[in-house]
């Protein structure tokens, strides 16, 4: 029989939950429930020194294995079944205050009840279990019940409310429910048609009909995309110092469309994380992957692209953890997680999943997809892109094997090399052992090495004596200075903007000048099918060319093919010119550090160039590119995986420092969350794992977030932390029921989930509170009354738009700029200007307003819109005086109040009726007599003030002025700003 002590220790650990709830959460009363009563003691009192970060005395209470292991004292701390002889009990009962655990300076000592709980638990065999959230949810609603989902949810809520001493309230007035459900589902106030439909009362079928209509509204996606975009840290700029524009809006539109068509959330998540890894991805699949390209890019001068690439990967790992798993995995970046079973190695296994995408903090934001402005051309554009990729791949498949026949290449022996600028070149012999190890052509030659100070845009000139040979192709190798180091910490790459080779024919007779002969290259091919910049461009007069842009980890090659074979004779001299003409914001010059050259005499190169199929593919690639350019598009960053050969090996970073690489690690999810032996090796597997039925967190975390949007607080209040430091669920059965239903029966349908929730009695309850109910449940965690919360930033704006009569329902497209005061945008090294729209665009919904990360739109910021510099897993809901200044004084709101006043004036009725009509439009309720009297009195005062204006503006007669004052007042009412 459990003692009362067990329950009281529980309530101490979770003080915020009334005792009754703990009773409900507690598992069968005959066992000591580890998670409910023992784990909280460890978290509160032990893990700071015996946990993930510190294992003092080699003791940790993160896993059972660790807790039972032998410690520095030579004995295990816990002997299961034998509390009397367990060191742990000795230490926590130690009479000497200086020796007793936990030490006084680490917080409160254990209570007698807690000591007793630990004793009972050890005596019971020290049973352990995973944290509740790591256990796969089981639907508590068995098959044998007659309850519907809604009945079950309501029954659970009512029972728990009753246990908390609360009597569940009655249904909300029809107008209140309609306002609530309209904002919650489409983010807009109720339509006139819906308001008319409920005048005769709100029957259950009518509720269903309204919910279904709202779910089908094109505005649904705009409302729910806003929730997702906080997690996705979506913005229209790249972040950091200059914070320039980024065309990420096609992603925003793709999210809105996905929510509108109710794309099942599992499919949605697979695309967000790995749309590019699907077979034959569509344009929207690719655009979905912008999710993780929303991480900021840092193009400040003098930034290291690798450092900020790594910061972006960290951002992706942390965002995936917080937003999807509800886990603070970021804690494990520098050391093991202090409280949860996530090791530092686990962190870098997750890191490896994101470590080999092609992006590397470039100002060009590559890789990108050209997203057509007109979505109806997505399919056509994607078909062209796919054909082009296939063509490039075919070409590469013919080039690569031939280039890799290493025996054909004869190394060039340079005899002199020099550079422009400060760059110094040396000619060095090559080490055949190194060449063999790096699989470089073995035969002859030497290399040019750039040393000392390197100047951007250096041009190398090098000479060599020719050996008699017929040349069909030239192969260049670019090596890192130290390949072993570069494999782990990459060095700066290069762009070879122009390659030139001149032959000085030995003069026919002594004394005559040598004859110069320019070698004509017809094509260049790099060692990857579709590099950021084509190697061909090294043959043209532009800064582009064969490149490793911008970080190099391994030796790289390119082959340049001659249009016809050229024969070299003894005595001929070769003059090479390697021009670098591109610099970056990065930390070092984009120059080849070690350069080798080799010739081939193989006639297959010449044949290949002339081969009909090969030439046709070359032509087709060019034509496809031209056709694609004809489709007006913007360049949107997406995820793309590096070719297998170029994958970046992942190493644990000691103390989270990228310059201190530790042990190599391979991709996987944390061991504690693995449900089978199948490792998770890539992003697609990760996405499928996240949405697999055995994965305990994704569905719970998502359902909980939706719950918070509707009910005000999550069932788990810490929506971003389902770990040991997170809050215990208030309604665990409801959470698990919803999670299981959502991911199975409802097939991950957000609309179905919302339909069920908005039709519950709990959601539809009257929001009225009394001092008594407030005393028992100040934050409405038990839902005995209906949810009443402040509108989100977006809803505040959108409601005013609708009331003004100027609402522009246009969806999608580039972001818009409504009025914003001068001077808000003023970034360093940036000339970007806010150009306020003077057309209908200024009346578009908040989700389309331009979002600059370092200077957000002020009126949205004031209402807690996050800066979007990082994943915001939980948006604040505050009330500050600055918000009042926005809705009273922001010229954008003044204009909307004028529009609203016009509508009220157009309403053919008495002044009193007009004001009452406006009040009802705004708040969905009828004003009390006192409220109406107050507004009318304000109207008279405003009329007087209008008359007193000097001069009196013609365009703004007193009636209009006074009604605008009333309209603005209405927009500022508590009843207007809440739902």
């Amino acid at each position: 029989m459990p003692s009362r002590a067990l329950f009281s220790s529980l309530s101490i650990a979770r003080q915020r939950l009334p005792l009754v709830v703990c009773l409900l959460i507690a598992q069968p009363v005959w066992a000591v429930d580890f998670n409910a009563s023992v784990r909280p003691i460890f978290v509160k009192s032990c893990l700071a020194c015996h946990g993930g970060v510190r294992q003092q005395g080699s003791l940790s209470f993160i896993t059972r294995e660790q807790a039972l292991a032998t410690t520095d004292s030579g004995d295990p701390s816990i002997l299961p079944g034998n509390a009397a002889e367990s060191v742990l009990m000795e230490r926590i009962k130690e009479p000497d205050d200086d020796l007793r655990m936990p030490p006084a300076e680490h917080g409160p000592r254990l209570t007698p009840e807690e000591v007793e709980t630990l004793r009972a638990w050890i005596d019971a065999g020290a049973p352990w279990s995973d944290p509740w959230s790591f256990q796969v949810p089981v639907d508590p609603l068995g098959p044998a019940t007659a309850d519907s989902d809604r009945q079950f949810i309501d029954r659970m809520i009512d029972t728990q409310a009753a246990s908390a001493g609360l009597t569940p309230g009655g249904p909300a007035p029809a107008e209140e429910w309609l306002r609530r459900v309209s904002f919650d589902l489409v983010g807009l106030p109720p339509t006139a048609a819906h308001r008319a439909s409920i005048t005769a009362g709100l029957t259950p079928p009518l509720r269903e009909q309204i919910v279904d209509e709202l779910l089908a509204s094109p505005h649904f996606g705009e409302r729910w995309a806003a929730v997702w975009l906080d997690l996705a840290r979506y913005a229209d700029t790249i972040g950091y110092e200059r914070d320039p524009h980024r065309d990420a809006w096609p992603y925003r539109d793709a999210v809105i469309r996905a929510f509108n068509r109710d794309q099942p959330l599992d499919e949605f998540l697979v695309r967000q994380l790995a749309g590019d890894r699907l077979p034959e991805p569509t344009m929207e699949d690719l655009l979905a992957t912008t999710f993780h390209r929303n991480a900021p890019t840092n193009i400040e001068g003098g930034t290291d692209d690798e450092e900020f690439r790594i910061i972006a990967v960290v951002d992706r790992v942390d965002t995936t953890g917080q937003a999807l798993l509800g886990l603070t995995v970021g804690c494990a970046r520098c050391h093991d997680h202090p409280y949860d079973p996530i090791t530092q190695a686990d962190y870098y296994r997750l890191f490896d999943l994101f470590n080999s995408t092609a992006d590397v903090d470039l100002r060009e934001e590559w890789p990108t997809v050209q997203a057509p402005l007109d979505p109806s051309r997505y399919e056509e554009a994607q078909r062209l892109d796919r054909e082009r990729s296939a063509t490039l791949e075919r070409l590469f498949q013919r080039i690569s094997p031939l280039a890799s026949e290493l025996q054909q290449w004869r190394g060039v022996t340079f005899d002199h090399a020099e550079s422009t600028g400060e760059t110094t070149l040396e000619v060095r012999a090559v080490d055949p052992i190194e060449s063999a190890a790096l699989a470089l052509p073995p035969a002859g030659g030497n290399e040019i090495v750039a040393v000392g100070t390197l100047t951007d845009r250096s041009i190398y000139a090098a000479t060599a004596a020719a050996t008699p040979l017929t040349v069909t192709a030239l192969r260049l190798e670019a090596l890192p200075l130290d390949p072993a180091t570069a494999a782990i910490l990459p060095q700066m790459g290069f762009v070879l903007s122009k390659l030139e080779l001149t032959i000085e024919r030995s003069p026919a007779a002594e004394g005559e000048p040598p004859v110069e002969e320019q070698v004509f290259f017809v094509a260049g091919f790099a060692d990857e099918a579709d590099p950021f910049i084509a190697a061909d461009e090294s043959l043209e007069d532009n800064p582009g060319g064969w490149s490793v842009y911008t970080k190099q980890r391994q030796p790289r090659w390119a082959v340049f093919v001659l249009d016809r074979a050229v024969t070299l004779a003894a005595g001929d001299r070769l003059r090479f010119r390697f021009k670098h003409d591109k610099a970056t914001d990065g930390q070092d010059a984009l120059l080849i550090r070690r350069l080798r050259a080799a010739f081939s005499s193989d006639t297959r190169w010449t044949e290949l160039i002339r081969d009909e199929a090969f030439a046709a593919d070359r032509l087709q690639e060019h034509e496809l590119r031209q056709q694609r350019k004809a489709i007006a598009s913007v360049s949107t960053p997406i995820m793309a995986e590096l070719p297998e050969r170029l994958r970046r090996p992942t190493r644990l970073m000691e103390r989270g420092n990228w310059l201190s690489p530790g042990a190599p690690l391979e991709a996987d999810v944390p061991a504690a969350l693995r449900h089978d032996d199948q490792p998770v090796r890539d992003r697609l597997m990760l996405a499928r794992w996240l949405t697999s039925p055995e994965q305990p967190l994704t569905a719970r975390v998502f359902v909980n977030r939706v719950w918070r949007e509707l009910m005000g607080t999550g069932i788990v209040a810490t929506v971003d932390d389902f770990g040991s430091t997170g809050e215990t669920p208030t309604h665990p059965q409801v959470l698990d029921h919803l999670a299981v239903r959502f991911s199975s029966t409802w097939k991950w349908s957000l609309k179905q989930l919302l339909r069920e929730l908005t039709l519950t009695r709990a959601y539809g309850r009257d929001a009225r509170a009394t001092p008594a109910t407030l005393a028992l449940d100040p934050s409405n965690r038990w839902l005995a009354r209906g949810p009443r919360t402040r509108l989100t930033a977006e809803m505040v704006r959108d409601q005013a738009l609708v009331l003004s009569g100027r609402f522009n329902p246009k969806a999608f497209g580039p972001p818009v700029m409504p009025y914003q005061p001068e001077g808000v945008w003023n970034s360093v090294h940036s000339t970007a200007r806010w150009q306020a729209a003077d057309d209908e665009a200024r009346f578009r919904r908040a989700i389309y307003v331009y979002w600059k990360r370092t200077a957000g739109y002020p009126s949205l910021m004031a209402f807690d819109m996050p800066s979007r510099e990082q994943c915001a897993a939980k948006r604040d809901r505050t009330n500050t005086p600055l918000q009042a200044l926005v809705t009273m004084n922001d010229p954008a709101y003044v204009e909307l109040a004028e529009g609203f006043a016009t509508r009220m004036l157009e309403h053919d009725a008495s002044l009193e009726e007009r004001v009452a009509w406006g009040y009802t439009q705004t708040t969905s309720t009828v004003p009390t007599t006192a409220a109406l009297r107050e507004l009318l009195s304000l109207h008279s005062a405003a009329l007087v003030a209008a008359d007193a204006r000097d001069p009196r503006p013609e365009s703004d007669p007193p009636e209009r002025f006074a009604m605008t004052i009333v309209a603005s007042t209405l927009l500022n009412l508590d009843a207007a700003l809440t739902k």
Binding site: P108, N298, G712, A855, D876
Partner: protein
Amino acid sequence: MNLWQHQLSESRSLATRRHFLKQGVAGLGACWLAAEGLSLPAAASSAGAIQVDPTNPWAPRAPHFSPRAKRVIFLHMAGAPSQFELFDYKPELARLDGQPCPASLIAGERFAFIRGVPKLLGPNYPFHQVGETGRWISDRLPHLERVIDRLCFVHTMQTDQFNHAPAQLLVHTGSPRGGGASFGSWTTYGLGSENQNLPGFIVLLSGGKNPSVGQAGWGSGFLPSVYQGVQCRSEGDPVLFLSNPDGIDATLRRRVVEAINRVNQETHAEMGDPETVTRIAQYEMACRMQLEATTAMNLSEETAQTLALYNAEPGAESFANNCLLARRLVERGVRFVQLFDWGWDMHGTSDTTDLGGGFAKKTREIDQPIAALLEDLERRGLLDETLVVWAGEFGRTPMAENRGGKANPFLGRDHHAKAFTLWMAGGGVKAGYSHGETDPVGYGPITAPVQVRDLHATLLRLLGFDNERLVFPARGLDQRLTGVEKAHVVEELLA
């Protein structure tokens, strides 16, 4: 009593008369922070977590210990001024001017723009000893010399970031990545503010551009957003949307707010939601803020003598004006005033970033106002409890910048994380003291290096906080300004 003051006193008395409001706040626990905010997540050691009254998160609170400073003015020279041209006297560097930098000094180091082997660059200005403490200072700050004995220098500041945005993030939020809470936010979270009619944390910008860090430099991060800094401006409304629309005067505005609040009382009577009571307080406060912020930001109230002291000019956007505004704001009980002055990034790539021309201009702009601020604070008896901090986000190299491997067209220095100088004055710091010494060429500390987290721990101590116990549970951790690594209070800096 002028009109503004009249309005102000009337609105205050209105507020106190509002029996309903009083009862509402006391009885029901109205909340600024939404209901959820009441139940902050329980972290393992949140014992020291600040107890915020959700009915007024700006209400003044007592720190852990008796504070030495009650408010902060942080003067950030955005772009990072050169210590070698101001405060770190290096005669040896002058002697070695033009010599190639020894390889041992820079082997394995990363720089933003320096390539290969740069040349050492001697100080561009003569130094001399001033004040009773005889400290060395260049000839660029003649006004500051008057108050040099009030200053406490740290010559051995170190950071691990050498790009502006991340380094500014580190100085202001304790983390080089975004998402952290700024020092000003931590301060107002910890202490609240003494004037409820003004934001407790105000930001003033000068230099023509925003600092590289953007609004993240005064963001509240994981702290409730009521603690984020509010930017006040010299042009347009001093606080965005502070002034009434055309045709609405103060009387009509009061009438509007009265109407809003009376109707809200009706709503409250009907719904019983404590947040409605908060909203009533919120609108009252907005109304008072309109008056008080307008007054606070109105430099024309200052005497000609004071304006001249600062070299301030009402209406302009200038560092001088911002210094004077800072005094006006702390005088009114604003807890934290953050100034950013942009334009200190002297790379020597153009005449505006030249250690000769551009730098001389910047030092002229700040010299007189800073001296005036310190003297003015002292004269008004505010300096004792006002902590003034002057700093950049990192230092500059003792080598001349050689961008792209070539000597720059003008004199400039690259970003340098190994050593920089900052100073503090006022509230509880040891006036006349200089902390730490750099090596003969000023490349790095030879004694007493101070990390940014140590600086934060020290500043928090001056404000009365144990940096280990000023925590906020978020993202699974007890978050601290000083981060997870151990931070040390630099006791020597404390008076």
